[in-house]
Symmetry: C2
Subunit: 238 residues, 2 copies
């Protein structure tokens, strides 16, 4: 959900919920009230009331990792995310691994006191780093005591897509926390459909508006997951 | 199509054709008239009349590579396949790379005189050999002047599935002839759906009866290919 105004967010949320997603991510960096904590918390409450049946994820994606430019500093974004944790409506919040270690520690403390889980994320919209680097990013999330490890990278070839799937499988076999991985763009779309087979726990699809390149419509994703499940490969439904 | 009697073959063919396949493989090793060349050619003619809109593939799978036990020797199977070429109804015939070099040379000569293309195949129903071995099998088909290279192997892990996809991509980037690759069984089913993205030109699906483990129903395969095509990854339709 990437609406700019309260009205746009709520309208988009209703359209998305009509498609029955398992989870909904609110990308609050798109929200024009992001600098007003009271407005963000009020809208979060309205989102929680509408989306009672979907698992909610709160995300402020930084501009350097592909998000919208916002007036908040990294620290302010982390503090706003901590307020969301204290509110207790969103069971998952996103925290970029590129945040300052002290900010990550702070958010982990607040989140875990509140029973909120942190998705520790890394994005590269330019390229696909080497496998050892990506694997280390995922493991870093676990080392830091965070709850879910996410890596999203841009491929320039089908080889990059296979590298991402290989990293996913290697991480799945050597880590305990859930993983979310994807190869973005046109080359990577296949990874959004079959990443679950190789160990990714969640795939982001287009409800009404996409938030990253290569996302497929939720109906197509669900159809692909159903086909895989019938073929005995229901990994994405873990 | 794996019927044992003429009637079973024709009934199965009609059921399969109703599902609109691009290609139909007749697995003649299942046919109880396999030892009677006249019966095989007569049935081939009937198949050709029924299946005018689908690309036909004639295959006698040997028992050692997962086919039915038959009374024909390898040489006799190759001679029967050559008769099919001369008949001019099946544009593709299968020839296992495990055949004697002289038999492969013989069949290539006949097939190419008749304008028939040879799918040079390798199967391992027990395991997934190492990548360099599989890549060499595919390249062997090209070295021998055959027209399509096929490898079908059994995985014991998701790593084996990724190995097969990696081999497919490596072969696609280094070879000229079309490839058909698949990882079989439950683990491998995903490769039957997305192998086309990485360079496989054909995927075998279940029309009425499956002929190898892990095949998915043709409707599921078509749905998955449509989703991939909409996402810009219509590789399988090459």
């Amino acid at each position: 959900v990437i609406g700019a105004s309260r009205e746009a967010v709520l309208a988009e949320l209703q359209a998305v919920l009509a498609k029955g997603p398992d989870a909904v991510e609110w990308r609050a960096d798109f929200f024009d009230g992001i600098a007003d904590t009271g407005k963000v918390l009020a809208l979060a409450r309205e989102i929680g009331e509408l989306a009672a049946d979907a698992t909610l994820i709160f995300t402020i994606r930084s501009n350097r990792e592909g998000g919208q430019p916002i007036v908040l500093s990294d620290r302010q974004a982390v503090e706003l995310t901590a307020e969301i944790c204290r509110q207790g409506i969103f069971p998952y919040v996103d925290c970029e691994l590129s945040n300052a270690p002290a900010d990550i520690d702070f958010l982990r403390g607040v989140a875990h006191d509140c029973g909120t889980r942190i998705i520790a994320s890394f994005h590269d919209f330019q390229r696909t780093p080497e496998a050892f680097f990506l694997l280390d990013k995922l493991r870093q999330a676990e080392r830091l005591g965070l709850d879910v490890a996410k890596v999203a990278v841009m491929p320039h070839s089908l080889q990059d897509v296979l590298t991402l799937l290989q990293v996913t499988l290697d991480a799945r076999e050597s880590m305990q926390i859930p993983l979310i991985t994807m190869s973005m763009g046109n080359y990577g779309a296949v990874s959004r459909l079959v990443g679950g087979v190789f160990g990714s726990a969640l795939s982001f699809a287009i409800g009404q508006n996409g938030s990253a390149p290569g996302q497929v419509p939720i109906d197509d994703l669900r159809c692909a997951l159903d086909i895989l499940a019938r073929a005995g490969q229901g990994g994405a439904a873990r």
